[in-house]
């Protein structure tokens, strides 16, 4: 492969990994727990900024052309891990404000407002993360280990490894009793509460957990592309991830991989080959128009996405059937069907 081809392929693979992590995180909140987190991109951003300022040297370096806090020059895995922790801490604080028992659309509004506050603060507080210009020249981690030609592949490997590790955690959550309880709170909050589940606490937990993943995804991205600014995390970026989750299959970890592949990756890459026509920026604007139409189309025709959430069936334990005239397997419904939302 030519050098530029390697660069192209590896960049797409890293972006795919980052988007998959983001989609899993968003799906845990939206698809599993029923939290519409319009501030999602803020958690990805805080992870990215944290990793950036921990990887960069002191603010006075490089002729002091950018100003930021910390600048600790920490070695590879630490900035990414700390990014997850910082995103989790922020999620805890935001969750305390936004995740109380408010109507779902109210929660979404509060998140939207918080996301905008964050952009304003980071843009105006110049000493924090270099204001609107953002951070640049973030050193490549692990670049001393391999030749410069092999580096992109090394990073693809790192991204893949992190995806696998995160998947193990995500799968563990969604397939456990915890995941089942969260789906119950999503489908019928009052019933879940009546059964003694602490809805607010459970949601706060999943909010913190999944936004840690969002932070890690942002960190992975920034360590690869080496730059990060407020322009890359306007709140509409959350909408791309949201669309990916809806298209792929809300509530399904495999489905949202499909969504990540189709919406941010295939869609953005496919339009890259459209020759520019009209005035500059027209293609970009039309791309947003199409993304804006995509989510409602799926909500109308395929509200459960390309790979829908699996119907969960539970076998009735044999002991309960002894002496009862019940058939061995009860007709099971997904909770969505039980609510009459499906066909």
């Amino acid at each position: 492969m030519s050098q530029s081809m390697v660069y192209y392929v590896t960049t797409i693979l890293v972006y795919l990994g980052v988007d998959i992590l983001a989609c899993w995180s968003f799906n845990l909140q939206y698809g599993v727990a029923g939290i519409l987190n319009f501030a999602f991109i803020m958690f990805q951003a805080v992870g990215a900024y944290t990793a950036a300022v921990l990887t960069l040297g002191p603010s006075s370096g490089n002729g002091g052309f950018q100003h930021y806090i910390l600048g600790w020059t920490l070695p590879f895995p630490i900035p990414i891990l700390v990014a997850g922790v910082v995103a989790a801490a922020l999620a805890y604080v935001v969750g305390l404000i936004a995740l109380r028992r408010l109507r779902a659309d109210y929660q979404a509004m509060v998140m939207l407002v918080i996301s905008v506050i964050a952009t304003l603060v980071v843009t105006n507080e110049l000493g924090l993360f270099n204001g609107p210009a953002g951070l640049a020249l973030i050193p490549e981690p692990l670049s001393s280990l391999v030749s410069s030609g092999g580096y992109p592949w090394l990073y693809v490997g790192v991204t893949a490894a992190i995806c696998v590790i995160v998947y193990l955690f995500v799968h563990r959550v969604t397939s456990s009793p915890l995941g089942r309880t969260l789906r119950a709170t999503r489908d019928n909050q009052d019933a879940a509460q009546a059964l003694g589940k602490d809805v607010v606490k459970l949601r706060l937990f999943i909010f913190v957990f999944s936004n840690a993943i969002a932070g890690i995804s942002g960190a992975l991205l920034v360590e690869f592309i080496g730059a990060w600014s407020p322009g890359s995390w306007l709140y509409v970026e959350t909408f791309v991830i949201l669309t990916a989750v809806i298209v792929g299959g809300t509530g399904n970890n495999a489905g949202v991989i499909m969504g990540a592949l189709l919406v941010p990756i295939a869609f953005n890459e496919a339009t890259r080959f459209i020759p520019p026509f009209g005035r500059p920026g027209l293609v970009d604007a039309m791309q947003w128009v199409v993304i804006g139409i995509l989510a409602p189309i799926f909500l109308w025709f395929w509200p459960r996405g390309i790979i829908p959430e699996r119907r969960r069936r539970f076998k009735v334990p044999a002991i309960l059937l002894v002496g009862s005239d019940q058939s061995p397997t009860r007709p099971e419904m997904t909770t969505a069907e039980a609510k009459g939302e499906v066909d």
Binding site: Y30, G34, L36, I97, R100, R101, L102, R103, A104, D105, Y106, A108, M109, V110, L112, V113, I114, V116, I117, L120, V121, T123, N124, D187, N188, Q189, D190, V236, F239, L242, I246, G278, R279, P280, G281, L282, A285, M286, W288, V289, I291, G292, I293, A295, P296, L299, W300, P303, E341
Partner: protein
């Protein structure tokens, strides 16, 4: 007085509050009656401002621009509801789904404007106006017009809601749509009227917003949307009078705080006020906390 609060900033605050009041009352009125969180509101403001701009370019007066903006906003909102939002509601799309549909609509409108007109700034052609000096505050004649318009519209809306049968029907529909319907209120018609009114206010707010900021682009309305939402939530969503109070508080708080610290922080102040109020009173200043509690509606 001058030692405590710079009076000139109070003047800016009153102008901002007037614009915000028009928008927030329109936003909250429709949300209260229909329960649809219309996140396309800001982008409709931009579109209305553009229509007003078109009238301005072909030589219309300011009043004609305002009228064109209001009419466009009203019709576009009503059509949007009838041909986009209502079909989704009937199709079974729930709360989250509707938020996503309105957000999508906003993104489509905004980028349609961007694609069609490019990333340009537009400015209304307005004759050079005099600046008036009133008890330490400075206003241009356009700002006087904006404040007068806002006060007049607020009075009309308040009278309409409290003194007419239509207003009564709207309040009934907002409080309990099913009960309103079986009591003989044509709720569909009421909802249409709510969208028309909300859209007219949206259009007016769009035009006065860009008259005050003097130039605008495809994102101007949407940038303002979050402050509108903040004002509406501060007053208690669905409460027009609350939205008015929220708008006045936020408008003055932002501009006065700008006199003490970097003006770029004035919106942060607005949101901090909102977050504090929500922590203390989740329903907003005038809202009912139970109305915003979660249920599986």
């Amino acid at each position: 007085m001058t030692a405590v609060v710079p009076v000139y900033s109070l003047g800016f605050g009153l102008v901002t509050a007037s614009i915000l009041a028009l928008a927030a009352v329109g936003f909250t009125l429709q949300f209260g009656v229909t329960n649809i969180l219309n996140l396309a509101f800001g982008d409709l403001m931009t579109a209305s401002a553009l229509v007003g701009y078109g009238v301005n370019v072909i030589g219309g007066t300011l009043a004609e621009s305002l009228l064109a903006g209001a009419v466009f906003g009203a019709i576009a909102s009503a059509l949007l509801n009838r041909y986009v939002y209502t079909p989704f509601v009937r199709h079974g799309t729930k709360l989250f789904g509707m938020v996503i549909v309105t957000l999508s609509t906003g993104i489509v409108i905004q980028n349609f404007i961007l694609g069609w007109f490019g990333a340009n700034f537009f400015s209304y052609k307005v004759a050079q106006t005099k600046t008036y000096h009133v008890v330490g505050m400075y206003f241009t004649s356009i700002q006087f017009m904006i404040m007068g318009l806002a006060i007049a519209v607020m009075i009309v809306v308040q009278l309409l809601l409290t003194q007419t049968r239509l207003g009564k029907a709207m309040r009934a529909t907002a409080a309990n749509p099913a009960l309103a319907q079986i009591s003989g209120i044509a709720t569909d018609r009421v909802i249409d009227v709510a969208w028309l009114m909300s859209g007219a206010l949206c259009g007016l707010a769009g035009v006065v917003l860009v008259l005050n900021t003097t130039s605008f682009q495809s994102t101007t309305g949407n940038d303002f949307l979050v402050v509108i939402i903040a004002a509406a939530m501060l007053g208690g969503v669905g409460r027009p009078l609350g939205a008015l109070v929220g708008a006045v508080i936020l408008g003055i708080a932002t501009e006065v705080s700008a006199a003490y610290m970097s003006p770029s922080y004035k919106e942060v102040i607005a949101f901090v006020v909102l977050v504090i109020v929500l922590l203390v009173r989740p329903g907003g200043l005038f809202g009912n906390a139970d109305a915003v509690r979660s249920s599986n509606a």
